[in-house]
């Protein structure tokens, strides 16, 4: 049973299939992540492809948490989604060769404009990163700090700020006082 970390070393050594195994493990998770951040299914397809292409372009910089590349991929996917137009230019040649995806509606991949999804998109990329890692994917502040290459205290303060901003974006439920009916 190989891990992302061991497969990555093999891929760096020239074994392309090892890179394929990393793709197999995380493609769906990355896709489900980017659909929250982009506008259309085809944009999500492109963001997934670019995330893995960027992973290879920056292959010496990939970080692992407990031998998993997923947190690093999610951060990269967040960055890619925030700069999709610029990222598209870099990898246009390969993306143009890929066949279009036939999208069938899926409740898990609906591109609705739910409040939480809308609020997440409204955050800065820096805030999105810590929300994605610590809230949506449950990483500890320590592990998130390792992925983002910042001190743990920075993650803590960013997370606190991002949560506050996220809360401010969400509509507040109407409070009804008891016993005040006229």
């Amino acid at each position: 049973m190989t891990t992302d970390a061991s497969d990555w070393r093999l891929a760096l050594g020239g074994e392309g299939e090892a890179f394929g195994r990393v793709f197999d493990r995380h493609r769906d998770r990355v896709y489900r992540h980017v659909v929250r951040l982009v506008s259309t299914p085809s944009d999500a397809d492109d963001a997934v492809a670019i995330t893995f292409l960027e992973a290879w372009r920056r292959r010496e910089s990939v970080r692992f948490v407990d031998d998993s590349a997923l947190p690093w991929l999610l951060v990269t996917a967040t960055n890619v989604s925030s700069n999709l137009r610029r990222s598209l230019r870099r990898h246009r040649a390969l993306l143009d060769r890929l066949p279009p995806e036939a999208h069938a509606p899926d409740h898990a991949e609906t591109f609705g404009d739910g409040d939480a999804q809308h609020a997440l998109r409204a955050l800065s990329t820096a805030d999105q990163r810590v929300i994605v890692l610590c809230v949506l994917h449950g990483l500890s502040e320590k592990d998130a700090a390792a992925v983002l290459d910042v001190p743990q205290g920075t993650v803590k303060s960013r997370l606190s700020r991002a949560k506050a901003r996220l809360a401010a974006q969400l509509p507040h439920p109407t409070l009804v006082k008891a016993g005040t009916h006229d």
């Binding site: 190989t2 891990t3 970390a5 061991s6 497969d7 070393r9 093999l10 891929a11 760096l12 050594g13 020239g14 074994e15 392309g16 299939e17 090892a18 890179f19 394929g20 793709f23 197999d24 493609r27 397809d45 997934v48 492809a49 893995f52 292409l53 290879w56 372009r57 920056r58 010496e60 910089s61 390969l94 060769r97 890929l98 066949p99 279009p100 995806e101 036939a102 290459d149």
Partner: protein, 306 residues
């Protein structure tokens, strides 16, 4: 898996399989001293592991195997014939390893060293100093490393000793280097006065390019107007020896001389200067100083290049 996902996976695997071999000059910061040539990380091919000694708190078996593949291809490639047992060791601090006796036909010991921690290490065979290597944060983080063809005297059995502090992976196998293709008359003429001119540099690249194309390979890039001609070739051309047969006779001496003389004014160095400036850092004059500034400020070189 949908067609698009399948095609994307195929493209990613092919990209990793055919990672182009970017020719780079050995970085002096990594090498304290060495008897023979030192090589940096390159693409790897297959290879059997005959002996693995991993420690419980050291690198995983997969990490050891991956490092061995990279070191073997880096140090040997198609440059030597290999004999007998392939040795692959994981060690920490000062340790000694048995490497047996030299098989008939073998002239040297192909030796590769991948440091996993920062530190200075010394390599000895039968207590005779062979080479030293300094490992930085950057080199410790990479898979693969450097090495050399070591000359071993005496009947044996022989012992390889690594002296230092920190963890590492060692690959070794007895070998005989293939003859080096002789330098062409044109390259010898360009090197005769000790100075490589622009015309000689470009002509050398053109001869190398023509040789590669003649052997059925494409040389990507190759901007002949740039100070340093940047290009990439396929890993396959390195694996089958074509690169060496073309590069060494026609371009290696010229390329090395030119790159050393012009590294401070290369396009890559200009991009790194701009990268520092964009971050509010005033770049220092030389490439060596700029590399240090990037490392000191935690800037990934890949973020500075297009």
């Amino acid at each position: 898996m949908t067609d698009r996902t399948s095609e994307l996976r195929h493209a990613l695997v092919a990209t990793a399989d055919a990672a182009p071999y970017q020719r780079r000059r050995p970085r002096a910061s990594l090498v304290v001293s060495a008897i023979a040539a030192f090589a940096l990380v390159g693409a790897a091919t297959g290879g059997a592991v005959a002996s693995t000694l991993g420690s419980s708190d050291g690198p995983s078996d997969e990490q050891i195997a991956a490092s061995g593949l990279v070191l073997k291809n880096t140090i040997v490639g198609t440059h030597a014939q290999l004999f007998g047992t392939e040795y692959l060791f994981a060690g920490r601090d000062t340790e000694s390893f048995s490497i047996g006796t030299r098989p008939d036909g073998a002239a040297t010991l192909a030796f590769g060293f991948d440091c996993l921690d920062v530190g200075d290490f010394t390599m000895l065979i039968d207590d005779d100093w062979q080479m030293g290597m300094g490992c930085t944060d950057e080199s410790a983080a990479q898979t693969g490393g450097g090495g050399s063809q070591l000359t071993v005297t005496g009947d044996g059995p022989h012992t390889l000793t690594i002296s230092g502090t920190g963890s590492y992976i060692v690959w070794a196998q007895w070998s005989t280097e293939n003859p080096v293709p002789p330098s062409s008359a044109a390259q010898n003429e360009a090197m005769a006065d000790g100075v490589v001119t622009r015309e000689e540099y470009v002509a050398g690249f053109d001869r190398f390019n023509a040789c590669m194309v003649g052997a059925g390979y494409h040389v990507d890039g190759g901007n002949r107007e740039a100070t340093i001609i940047s290009y990439a070739i396929s890993g396959e051309s390195v694996d089958d020896g074509t690169d060496r047969r073309c590069y060494e006779p026609e371009f290696m001496l010229i390329d090395t001389e030119w790159q050393i003389a012009h590294e401070d004014e290369s396009e890559t160095t200009d991009l790194l200067r701009a990268c520092l400036t964009a971050r509010g850092i005033v770049p220092l004059p030389t490439r060596v100083e700029i590399d240090t500034q990037l490392a000191d400020n935690g800037i990934d070189v890949l973020d500075c290049l297009p």
